[in-house]
Symmetry: C2
Subunit: 417 residues, 2 copies
C-alpha cells in the first residue's frame, strides 16, 4: 500500500514518487510538537518513547568538532539501553561551547521529567543552524504534552518534524522473520539539505521490534552503514552532527532474543536492514542540494574494495565531474582526472569508462565505436549510471551522489539572514 | 617599469592591474606560432631554445594517469640537460594511448630537426582538451620557422601562446645576486582555467641565466614549490598534465657555477625564486574559474606545519566554505565543519576564527564582541583573509584559493561542443 507525496514546486525532481505506508512498531511511541526553535508554523521537535528493555546502537560523524548532542549520545551509548529520543530541527547545537552542553542536559532533563525516566536513558539529536546557542528552555513547556500524546506512531509525521531544508520527508520500512517471529524495521532520515546556510546534518533513526542485544545491534548497524550511508556523498563536506541510531524494542510477538550479530537467524533481518538503510541513504542523495541528477558510480577491477571505494569517492566528489553531469556531458576526461588524483593504483592504459551502459573510453583512449547521440540521450535522464573498469583486480564498489548545479551555489551562497 | 594589461569584459576581476616589463634572459630564445591545433586566430605553440650547458629541473602532476608529455619529460629529466622546450595549447595529449606517445615523439623529432638538436634534449608540455588525439603533424610545418625566428625573448607573448581559457597571461620576474653576478629569473604560467570542458592544466616555466647544476636546481624547485604552487587550490581537482619546469642557462655575466642547493651564495636567489613562484601561483588563484574573490587561508596553532596545511586545504576545498565566501557570508560554522572533517588534531573548544582580521568565533563559540556590520564590509572586498587559530601548537601554514560561484558551474557545466 502506498500514499502519494504531495509535490510542491520546490520538491526535488528526484524525490520518490510514492512513500510506503509505515506500520507501527511495538514498543515505540511517537509525538511531535512546535517548540518554535527557528521555524514558524511547523513541527520542530520529535519525542520517541521506547518500552523498557529497548537496546540502542549508534554511529556518528567522524568530525573532530562534533555537536553537543553527538557527544551526549556517545557518552550514554555505553549502557546499551534507551528509553527515549528527542530530536529537534532548526538549531544543531554545534560549536556552542559550554552552553551547548548545558542545552543538551536541559533537554534530556525535561524529557526525563515528563516521561518519568532518567536523563541518561534519553538520546538526543539536533539539526539546523550551527554556532548559534540553542535555547533548550523552549522544549520544557512542550515536553509534558509530547510525553502524554506519544502513541504507536506516525513515522511520516516524525520524519517531517526533523526536516530542515529537505524537500521531502524520508521514510522506509521492511519486514523480516527471525525464527518464527515477524519483525518490522522502520527508518526515518533527514538529508544534507543546507538551504539557509549552516544546515549541514544527516540524521537517521531506525526502529525495530526485534530483540537484539546492544553489542550485536551495534555490529549490525556498523556493517549496514558501510555500503549505504557511508557510500553516499553530496559535496564531500562532513557535518558536525551526523547521527544514525537504531533502537530495538524486542516487543515483536514471539521474538527470540538474539545475543550475537553472527547468529544465523539474523540472515533475513540483515537483508531487510540493508534495504531500509540503502533506501534512506538513496533518498538523501536524491535530495542533495540543487540536485537534478542522481548519479550511481561503480568502480570495478580495482586492487581491492577499499581502493575501489576511494576511487569512486574521488569521482563522486570531483566538482568537475559533477558539473559535467549537470551539463549532461559524458565527460570521461574528467573521470580519468578523478581516477588519477585518487592516489590509488590505476593504469591509464587499462582504463575503460561507461556512461549509461555505453562504453565511451577503452584501454586508455576514446572508444572508437562510441556513439555520441546514444550517450547524449543517456545523459539527459534523471538517473546517471557511471562505470569505471580499472582492469587490475577484483575490487568493486558503488557510491551514490548527485550533480553540482547553479542551484547548489544559490542555496549555499545566499547571504546568511 | 610596468605595462597596463588591456582588460576585456571577460578578464577576471582579480587580474593584476599591471604586468612587469620582462627582461631578456641570456641563453634563452623564444618564438610563437599558430599551428591551428584548436583555436583560430591566436598563437598556440611556443618554442624556447636554450644555449648549450643549460640545466633543467621539473616537478609534475601526482596523477596516476599522467599525460604523454609528462611521461616524456620525466623520462628525459634524468640527463639534467635541456636545449629546447615546446609547449602547445588546445590539446593536452592526455589519455590518448599509444598515439599520444607517438605524438610526443613526433613533436620532439620536429623540434630537434628544425633546431639541429637531439630529440632527448627537447622538453614538452601540452594543455587543452584531454582524450582527443593530438595531431602533432601540424607542428612540423611551423617548427622550422619557429627555430629561425627565435630571439631573446618576449615572455609576455610566450605566456599568451600557452593560455587555454585563462583570462589573462601570467608572467613574473625578479633579480638576485649570486656572488658578484646579477642573475634574472623569469616565469610564465597558465592556470586552471577550464572553460570549454576538459581543459585542466597548470603549466609554468621558469627561466634563469644563473649557473646551477641540475641536482641543485631540482632541489631549489622542489623547495620553492612547497609553499607556492602546492599551496594553491581552485577546486581540489588535479590535472593529468600539471608541469612546472625550470631552465638555468648559466649565461649571466660572471655567473659562478653553483653545484649544491645548500651553497650560501644562493640565499638571495632562493628568495627571488620564491617571489616569482609565489607571484605566478597567486595569479593562478586569481584566474580560478568564475573567481570573484581571492581567498587567503592561514591556519596557526596546529600541531605541525603539515597538519596546518591539511586543515587549510580542507577549508580551501570545501564547497560550502567557498560558496559562503561567494555569497559574502562570514560563515564560520562552515569553517568549523571543514576543520572538523580534516582528520587532523583539533579541539573545538580552543578554536578561534577571523574573517578580514575580525574575530568572529573564539574558544569554541561565537565571539560575543563580533560586529556583523564590520565583518559584512570585510566580506565585500575582492580579497578575503581567513584565519583559524587551533590553540594546540606552533604549526602554521597558508594556502590560496578562490570562491565558488555560479560562473564556475556555467563554465564547467556547459555541454562539450
Amino acid at each position: 500500500m502506498v500514499a502519494t507525496i504531495i509535490m510542491s514546486a520546490s520538491v526535488s525532481p528526484l524525490a520518490p514518487q510514492h512513500v510506503p505506508d509505515m506500520p507501527a512498531i511495538a514498543g515505540v511511541r511517537l509525538a511531535t510538537a512546535q517548540a518554535g526553535i527557528r521555524y514558524a508554523g511547523r513541527t520542530d521537535v520529535l519525542l520517541a518513547l521506547f518500552d523498557a528493555g529497548t537496546t540502542v546502537a549508534g554511529v556518528f560523524t567522524k568530525s573532530k568538532c562534533p555537536s553537543a548532542p553527538v557527544e551526549w549520545c556517545r557518552d550514554h551509548l555505553k549502557s546499551g539501553k534507551a528509553r527515549a529520543l528527542v530530536v529537534n530541527s532548526g538549531n544543531a547545537n554545534a560549536f556552542t561551547g559550554k552552553s551547548g552542553r548545558a542545552a543538551a542536559k536541559l533537554t534530556a532533563d525535561a524529557a526525563a521529567k515528563a516521561a518519568g525516566l532518567k536523563p541518561f536513558e534519553i538520546f538526543l539529536a539536533s539539526t539546523g543552524v550551527i554556532g548559534e546557542p540553542l535555547d533548550a528552555s523552549k522544549f520544557v513547556p512542550v515536553m509534558q504534552g509530547l510525553a502524554t500524546r506519544a502513541h504507536a506512531g506516525d513515522f511520516f509525521t516524525a520524519a517531517q518534524a526533523i526536516m530542515t531544508t529537505d524537500t521531502f520527508p524520508k521514510v522506509a520500512t521492511a519486514q523480516a522473520r527471525i525464527g518464527k517471529a515477524t519483525v518490522t524495521i522502520n527508518g526515518i532520515a533527514k538529508g544534507a539539505g543546507m538551504i539557509a546556510p549552516d544546515m549541514a546534518t544527516m540524521l537517521s533513526f531506525i526502529f525495530t521490534d526485534a530483540a537484539i542485544a546492544a553489542p550485536a545491534l551495534q555490529a549490525l548497524l556498523k556493517d549496514g552503514v558501510a555500503d549505504t550511508f557511508n557510500a553516499v556523498t553530496i559535496d564531500g563536506d562532513t557535518s558536525t552532527s551526523d547521527t544514525l541510531m537504531m533502537f530495538a524494542t524486542g516487543k515483536a510477538a514471539g521474538a527470540a532474543r538474539i545475543a550475537r550479530a553472527t547468529d544465523p537467524r539474523l540472515k533475513a533481518f540483515k537483508k531487510a536492514l540493508q534495504q531500509v538503510l540503502g533506501n534512506l541513504s538513496e533518498q538523501v542523495a536524491r535530495d542533495g542540494e540543487g540536485a537534478r541528477k542522481l548519479v550511481e558510480i561503480v568502480v570495478e577491477g580495482a586492487v581491492s574494495k577499499a581502493s575501489a571505494r576511494r576511487i569512486a569517492m574521488s569521482i563522486a566528489n570531483s566538482p568537475l565531474v559533477k558539473t559535467a553531469i549537470a551539463g549532461e556531458d559524458a565527460n570521461w576526461g574528467r573521470v580519468v582526472m578523478a581516477v588519477g588524483k585518487a592516489g590509488e593504483p590505476a593504469n591509464r592504459d587499462k582504463l575503460s569508462i561507461w556512461f549509461g551502459g555505453i562504453r565511451v573510453a577503452h584501454k586508455g583512449a576514446r572508444d572508437p565505436g562510441y556513439d555520441e547521440a546514444k550517450v547524449s540521450a543517456a545523459m539527459k535522464k534523471p538517473e546517471i549510471y557511471l562505470k569505471v573498469a580499472l582492469g587490475l583486480g577484483k575490487g568493486r564498489d558503488r557510491v551514490l551522489t548527485c550533480d553540482l548545479t547553479k542551484e547548489y551555489i544559490a542555496i549555499n551562497g545566499d547571504y546568511r539572514s
